[in-house]
């Protein structure tokens, strides 16, 4: 019989999403402790590598949102240290972290995704901002969504309804990164589908439907009240099956591992649009992943422990 795993949860970091990461890390650690797992929570700082080298945990769970956490770099370090960890490997993390790259990968796998264009800040300078914005609107149409090509928690994201709003949206976006993704805004039922890999295989948790009184922005995500969640989503069984299949296909097409969350729009005509995927989904008290797990009848302590066990077995094998 194997001993109870010793786990180091990594949370914090220096990204714009540090606050969310700290909250997620605390939640996961609490749940794991309830499942008799020995857990240490650690920030990403100069003490990290000596600590990991010293205690050699059975599994590391990086719950780091934003750069270094989701761009694969911390996972590279865990590979260097030859440590088992929960989640996707560095290469696939890098692919998923870049929204346009992830969109092109899932599109090649036959999954629909809204029309988009990816433009660096430098291009607007070289070609003239107005000319570029005019071309974007002519091609993609309005409304459109401007978002940093990398990043989460809806930071720097703006829904643009008229071309006059576009310059301001671009400035907001470029404060978070040098490359912007401009994407056709699609309307429909917004659902998030979490995918897990445990001893039972790869499976989707029930979709969670998100209904807000405006954009699903930072305020709507982290202040209880403005957003109403339906878990499971108010969709037909057939639709639930389709979005689950789509999320699993995206998970596999992108080479993701153990845990992911895919954000989709279910359009009125029944078609499904892929928006983005998260390799380190939020695990706070208001996050979608734990809601999906609970809707699926899962107890978080046991679920998180089974994910840890899967990560450990993978390493052992």
């Amino acid at each position: 019989m194997t001993h109870s795993p010793r786990v180091v949860v990594l949370s914090g970091g220096l990204s714009h999403e540090r606050d969310v990461s700290l909250r997620s890390g605390r939640r996961v650690a609490e749940a794991l402790r309830l499942a008799q797992v020995e857990v240490t929570v650690h920030d990403v700082d100069a003490d990290l590598i000596p600590m990991l080298s010293d205690i050699r945990p059975d599994v590391v769970w990086p719950i780091l949102h934003g750069a270094s956490g989701e761009d694969g770099s911390i996972r590279d370090v865990l590979e260097l240290l030859d440590l088992a960890y929960v989640g996707t490997g560095p290469r696939s993390s890098r692919i998923a972290w870049s929204k346009p790259v992830a969109k092109s990968v899932v599109a090649r796998a036959g999954i629909s995704t809204p029309d988009y264009v990816t433009l660096p800040q430098s291009l607007f300078r070289e070609l003239g901002a107005q000319a570029v914005m005019n071309a974007v609107v002519a091609k993609i149409g309005l409304p459109l969504v401007v978002k940093p090509s990398r990043g989460g928690s809806a930071l720097g994201v703006t829904l643009v309804r008229s071309i006059a709003e576009l310059p301001r949206a671009m400035v907001t976006c470029f404060a978070y990164g040098d490359v912007a993704l401009l994407e056709r805004a699609v309307t429909g039922t917004e659902v998030a589908v979490s995918v897990i890999e445990t001893a039972d295989g790869c499976q989707a948790l029930p979709p969670v439907e998100i209904v807000t009184d405006g954009p699903y922005d930072y305020d709507a995500r982290y202040n209880p009240g403005r957003t109403e969640y339906f878990a499971p989503a108010r969709v037909t069984a057939e639709q639930a099956e389709t979005v689950a299949r789509t999320a699993i296909e995206a998970h596999k097409a992108l080479g993701l591992r153990h845990i992911s969350r895919t954000d989709l729009i279910l359009e009125a005509d029944g078609s499904i649009q892929f928006l983005e995927v998260n390799v380190a989904p939020g695990m706070t008290e208001t996050s979608l992943f734990p809601q999906a797990a609970l809707a699926g009848g899962r107890e978080l302590p046991e679920l998180y422990r089974s994910i840890v066990e899967t990560a450990r077995v993978r390493q052992d094998s």
Partner: protein, 436 residues
Amino acid sequence: MTSLTPPTPGTRLDPWFGAYAQRAHNMRASEVRALFAVVNRPEVVSLAGGMPYLEGLPLGVIADTMQRVIATQGTTALQYGSGQGLEELREQILDVMRLEGIDAHPDDVVVTTGSQQALDLVTRIFIDPGDVIVAEAPSYVGALGVFRSYQADIVHVPIDGDGLIPEALEETLTRLAAQGRRVKFLYTIPNFHNPAGVTLSLERRPRILEIARRHGVLVIEDNPYGLLGFSHDPLPAMRSTDEEGVLYLGSFSKTFAPGFRVGWVVAPHAVREKLVLASESAILCPSNASQMAISAYLSTSDWKGQIKSFRELYRERRDAMVGALAEHLPDASWTVPDGGFYTWVKLPDGLDSKSMLPRAVTGRVAYVPGTAFFADGSGADHMRLSYCFPTPERIREGVRRLAAVVNAERELVEIFGTSPSPDDVTDIDNPGPDSL
């Protein structure tokens, strides 16, 4: 065949969402607040927080003092106390205030849990929803948060290098009176203003008091920094010449240590009685242990010498700040404070300190956007920089990083010919204790 899954009720993740008081609806986490989560990391040079440099305190002496308080008077220190505060400390507070010309009686003093609680109490006893509070533009973010929570209507009055402008105050009060608006009080930080760094000139003080008196408006004089001047003795407090028309708020947070959470308010008799009752209903009594520790410190240590040493330390840091600004951000402008913790920086045209904050966090430097200091969402063209906590070397490095952020933002504004300006006040929240 298509079939519906059993319907599930939606959740807003807060079963009491519909039960909150109206005043609670604007108490929300915001992007700005989230970005401040990185401020305490050592990689980030924080020019944001107004945290005193506690390494400058004789921590060993304070430890001995606290140990002695608990060992010899523990049953009192750890017990409930008086709602008005310990009499011995109130007498010592008179000694502190005498340095600014205030002549008061111990009975006039109400000890509070930091002057932030004094602000809350004063607002609680005077403000009904919709009442007007007049405050400087800009004004202390923590005060604006309190005022907003009591649903006050905050009207700003401009300041210049000599503090609140009397003519502007006169015009504002006259206009509000003509509109039939009831102004309950004027909130002012006369010395080394937070965030603007300016000081109300000696010449203007009686004029401001006269205008307020004539309009029947109470003056709330918030003075946490008055003893931290760099070049001259403390100016006479407004309260020193007007006992009935001024409520004076004092604090040990900036001259000693904020961790004790001890402040005070000096008020005329009738107001004071209400403040004590309000405080008792809120917290029963301020902490005896904190009050006794401060009292022991005041009676056994050279606290005036300590303040002098703080003044020299902060002056050196102020010099580092304005020197670095001149070197790295020559096309910005800023106030040169003669005391206190802050300088108020006007950014080059078109730049927006709030939208620039994520870029600054990426660049490992933090500041407080100017929008935090206005009730109406304006102030995006300014930022507050604090020089109290980082060493001079870190201040110079922080400003160097800030200049890189400003230059990158300027390029962006040049490209798009615009800069976002806040169009709502919902996310102009209190950025948290690290930023006060």
